[in-house]
């Protein structure tokens, strides 16, 4: 399974970013192989409509789960329709910490409308 985590910087040591589509980086981790790919988010300073575009980036990379602080309405609809589960991480830890909490079943899913 590929999990996309919103982050402030590249790499699994980066702190988790609370905002979904405006996160500076997305870190995609393949939970089977442990391989991580960091993608710079071109939408950080975009004017609007960032939610659906960010979800397309998740979909393109085959992510079926996301970890972030919160998601906006448009993003929520796209995530729901795209079958991507979203888990809420409200801590101050790293991407790796959030992923560990998620696999341990400690994170609550964010209801998508």
């Amino acid at each position: 399974m590929i999990v996309g985590i919103t982050a402030r910087a590249p790499g699994t040591d980066a702190p988790v970013e609370q905002r979904f589509a405006r996160a500076p980086y997305f870190v995609f981790v393949d939970t089977e192989t442990g391989k991580a790919e960091s993608v710079e988010n071109p939408l950080v300073n975009a004017v609007g409509g960032v939610g659906p575009r960010a979800v397309q980036m998740f979909s393109e990379r085959g992510a079926t789960a996301a970890i972030t602080g919160q998601v906006g309405g448009n993003a929520a609809r796209a995530l729901k329709e795209g079958g991507i589960k979203v888990y809420a991480y409200r801590g101050t830890g790293s991407v790796a910490d959030a992923l560990a909490d998620c696999t341990a079943g400690k994170l609550q899913p964010i209801p998508l409308l």
Partner: protein
């Protein structure tokens, strides 16, 4: 002749000037008033009448799932996020679409076609003899004000004398409203904020090559800074309306000072002559 009424700052009295100017002109000739403040139209409050309405639509994409290969090009192209290409379908967010048509152009499969979506309406009435009122109304939550403004302006296109009441600010809706006008009346008020935004509005009119004149509303008699600005920019001050409880009272009950208070019909006629002089 087409006259746009703008201000920069909100609440300076654009609609008050438009309503009184329109009423005054209609006493002697055919005139059209067009409410281009489509997010909050209020000219009709001064002219209660039965109106005919027509929907305003804008094209939005529709995906043909049989042709679509989910290549993602449309979603990558759309800077407004109106398309999200997922694993098994394309999600369309019509309210985010700005109707640029780019998705239909970039789709390599010809799978995107445009379908109309209603975003507002235009209302047309004849509240008094010789006056036509057209109001543009943008539905709540919609963003494409310019499309509704275009529709409202198109309805009044054939009129020989048209007054466009713009929205506040200097953004797209204002540009759309004053575009194609012969002259612009900039309504300001005796406050620092009024002057600040007058500067912005005057700059917009100048950039668009539209000659302008100024109306100072709610004047407290100390308009030196505004007058100095107008002198410096070569903007004629066409009318000064004093800060007066009597005027406010007429305005607050939906009245027209050119009809309800002595002397104002003549002053609004002089305003028309003044702005016509700016064009010549």
């Amino acid at each position: 002749m087409k006259i746009a009424i703008a201000s920069g700052k909100g609440g300076t009295g654009k609609t008050m000037v438009a309503a009184n100017l329109g009423f005054t002109l209609a006493l002697s000739r055919e005139a059209a008033l067009v409410d281009c403040d489509v997010e909050e139209p209020n000219l009709h409050l001064f002219f209660p009448a039965q109106a005919l309405t027509a929907p305003v639509t804008t094209p939005v994409p529709e995906i043909d799932p049989d042709r679509c290969t989910l290549c993602g090009e449309c979603g990558k192209f759309c800077r407004f996020g109106a398309l999200s290409v997922l694993k098994d379908r394309v999600l369309v967010f019509p309210h985010l679409c700005h109707s640029c048509g780019g998705c239909t152009l970039v789709c390599p499969q010809g799978a995107v076609r445009e379908v109309p979506r209603t975003i507002g309406r235009v209302a047309c009435s004849s509240p008094i003899p010789r006056l036509t009122l057209v109001s543009g109304v943008l539905n709540e939550g919609e963003v494409q004000a310019p499309a509704v403004i275009r529709a409202a302006k198109a309805l009044s296109k054939a009129h020989p004398l048209t007054i466009y009441d713009a929205s506040p600010g200097t953004a797209c809706p204002v540009i759309e409203t004053i575009d194609g006008s012969d002259a612009c009346i900039l309504v300001t008020e005796s406050t620092p904020f009024g002057l600040h935004d007058l500067r912005l509005a005057a700059e917009v009119a100048e950039k668009m090559g539209i000659p302008a004149g100024v109306v100072i509303n709610r004047s407290d008699g100390r308009d030196e800074e505004t007058l100095a600005f107008c002198r410096e920019r070569g903007l004629p001050v066409l009318m000064t309306i004093p800060f007066s409880r009597e005027i406010a009272a007429v305005q607050n009950r939906g009245g027209l000072i050119c009809r309800d208070l002595p002397g104002w019909e003549e002053r609004f006629m002089a305003l028309f002559d003044g702005i016509a002089g700016v064009v010549a």
